[in-house]
Amino acid sequence: MITAVAICGLLVFQSCGEENKKTDVVESGTYQGVAEEVDPGEQEIYVRTADGKLLELYFTDQTALTTAGGSPAEFSELTEGGNVEVQVEKKGNRLEPIAVKIL
């Protein structure tokens, strides 16, 4: 029984963790997609592109977040399911968001 509880605990951790989320690394460029998940705590968004790739983007101080009109926007204006256009730079195996536009 205890072993079963332990195994269940491990599975819970696994299912809760982000590591289960299979993300993709793409070349530097501009992509359009849907903000599948928005995490204000970690200042992070997951963007599903039109070709089905999932981009994990951690905002930095240099990330420019704007509205469709080009005016500056707050992170709280990002909504799950909303369309976004992201300009990313590939650094190693990490994607750095240079600019994110809320469409």
Partner: protein
Amino acid sequence: MPLQQLTIVWRKELWHPVVVHFPIATLLLASVVGVVMLFKHSENNGPKTARCFIGLLVFGVATAWLAVSTGLWSYNTEVRRICDPSVLKSHRMWGIYAATLYTVSLAVYAVGRMVWVTRLLTYLAVLTALAGAAVLTYSGHLGASLVYQQGAGVRQPSADCNEFME
């Protein structure tokens, strides 16, 4: 930034390496003591190794969760700096698994001592501790690769080392 402002107090990502070596040392040692305990049946050595086993586990499990906590605290900083965040995620995942396995080992052994004193529970506790040792070793390997290959938590001095000038 002046060097004085870069001390450990101001860099939250440095608390994890300060803490994490305690559970690595004590929990791996607990696994070894656990195996020794299974073969020590004499009246003199048995209780001593048992006390040593549970002492190491209690201290190791407590500091392991502290290490997980400090690791999660620094996660947001490092995931934005390193070149391959997937290694950091794996390190986080296996670290939590290791802490969980040793916690289960401690719980099983404590139950065995307090409620049903059976040899089977002791074997189960040691077996779980051995599994924890394997997972902890792998997590440690990932943590080392984060530091030595990707420079996680490591501050790069300027090219002219100007901040070290008196």
